[in-house]
């Protein structure tokens, strides 16, 4: 959908490069050759909508969407915010997919061998379609930190994986949201691949106005996609 509007480039001061040696898996996987420039036309300025994935309704309560015989273990959290383009305009009706580890830091994925318990009432996958103001909202469980084998005694800070379709394939974004005050943030080579000055955009703010009394802590986190190409000022 959409079309006609061209999008500004990915900002190199905002996004990681393809290789970041501290994150070892980039070394053999990040492309090394220069990207070939392309002038956008319909194939880039259109893109999938929630309907493209057969999705028509929200599935944004991860505390119940996989429950079998009870509630998931852990700290209930509300994560909300707006999807905007760089000009500040809301991105309405776009799909956000969220996935994460459980409270113990274990993914419901067969390749995850971290010896922490699975939760029979939690899978950790949901989705939400932004409203007319670009607002999304999830109720979930705060994920745990977990070890990985990137380097000695490496631990990923608690994070949510977030995928946003955006208005066009050119604005597609997959990222991660982190939690404020986490001492693991500055040790993490995945967050560390983001340029200085942009890293804090991936850290949500604790939001007491989102917090629900006697129920769940609230966090607010806005997502900013590439905006329409700006006409150069004369």
């Amino acid at each position: 959908m959409t079309g006609t509007v061209a999008y500004e480039p990915f900002d190199p001061a905002s996004h990681p490069g393809f290789t970041h040696e501290a994150y070892r898996s980039t070394v053999l996987r990040g492309p090394r050759q220069a990207l070939v420039p392309l002038t956008q036309s319909a194939g880039e300025t259109t893109g999938p909508t929630p309907a493209s994935l057969g999705i028509t309704a929200d599935d944004n309560d991860l505390t119940t969407n996989a429950a079998r015989d009870g509630e998931p273990i852990g700290e209930r959290i509300i994560v909300t915010g707006r999807v905007l383009d760089a000009s500040g305009a809301p991105v309405a009706g776009t799909l956000i997919e969220l996935w994460q580890a459980n409270a113990a830091g274990r993914y419901a994925h067969p390749v995850d061998i971290h010896p922490a318990p699975l939760d029979p009432n939690f899978v950790g996958a949901g989705h939400c379609i932004t409203d007319a103001e670009g607002v999304y909202r999830f109720l979930t469980i705060k994920p745990g930190a977990y070890p990985w084998r990137n380097h000695a005694n490496a631990w990923r800070p608690a994070h949510l994986h977030v995928s946003v379709l955006g208005p066009a394939i050119a604005t597609r974004l997959v990222t991660q949201m982190y939690f404020p005050g986490d001492p693991l943030l500055e040790l993490d080579p995945i967050l560390g691949g983001v340029p200085d000055g942009a890293r804090e955009r991936l850290v949500a703010a604790y939001a007491h106005d989102v917090t629900e009394a006697e129920w769940a802590l609230g966090y607010r986190w806005d997502i900013v996609l590439r905006g329409p190409l700006r006409t150069p000022e004369v």
């Binding site: 392309l38 194939g43 259109t46 909508t49 009706g93 994986h161 050119a170 997959v174 990222t175 942009a198």
Partner: protein, 187 residues
């Protein structure tokens, strides 16, 4: 003379890797049939492997596909289903789509482009996604010879953007690195 106040401009949210453990989310809907309502007689398979700089298969990649339909059109309404595909690679690094050969889509300057699909590559070890194209025609087709995006690619690397016939279907391997590195696009 003072410059006009710039329009509000927010910093883009940085990209991060999909990590290794996404399939229970990104793979929970089967999106490998790009045009579920198309005439089965028009459908073709598009498959290939994702390989790293040592030609080792990448089993934790996800490939997304976006293309026009057989008449060169993109979905006209928000409720249209066709044109998008997503395939998580298997243990051999292999992805698979069923699609149709797209019709002609004009480039920004109006020049017709050869039949192609946009591919978006995500993987553990990719801090940002990589865009490429797969062309579903032969490199010596007149349409490919006139394609403006291919014209911008160094001639020695153009072959990396073409699918080839594989047992009646299309095969397109994605080399993230190495001597055969696929051309990735800045769009």
């Amino acid at each position: 003379m003072t410059a006009p106040e710039p329009a509000p401009h927010l910093g883009q949210t940085p990209s991060q890797t999909v990590g290794p453990f996404f399939s229970f989310s990104l793979g929970r809907f089967d999106l490998t049939d790009v045009f579920p309502d198309a005439d089965p007689a028009t459908k073709v398979t598009l498959t290939g492997q994702v390989l790293d700089g040592e030609d080792t298969p990448v089993p934790d990649a996800v490939i997304e596909l976006w293309q026009a339909d057989a008449s060169g059109r993109f979905p006209a309404s928000r409720s249209d289903r066709g044109g998008f595909g997503r395939s998580c690679t298997d243990t051999d690094g292999r992805y698979r789509f069923t699609t149709v050969v797209p019709g002609v889509v004009a480039a920004a300057d109006g020049t017709p482009q050869a039949p192609h699909a946009t591919l978006v590559v995500f993987a553990r070890g990719l801090l940002r996604h990589a865009f490429t194209r797969v062309y579903l025609c032969a490199p010596d087709d007149a349409a490919a010879q006139a394609d403006p995006v291919l014209a911008a690619v160094p001639p020695s690397r153009r072959h990396t953007l073409f699918a080839h016939d594989d047992d009646g279907g299309f095969r397109f391997d994605i080399h993230l690195q190495g001597p055969a590195e696929t051309v990735f696009l800045d769009l």
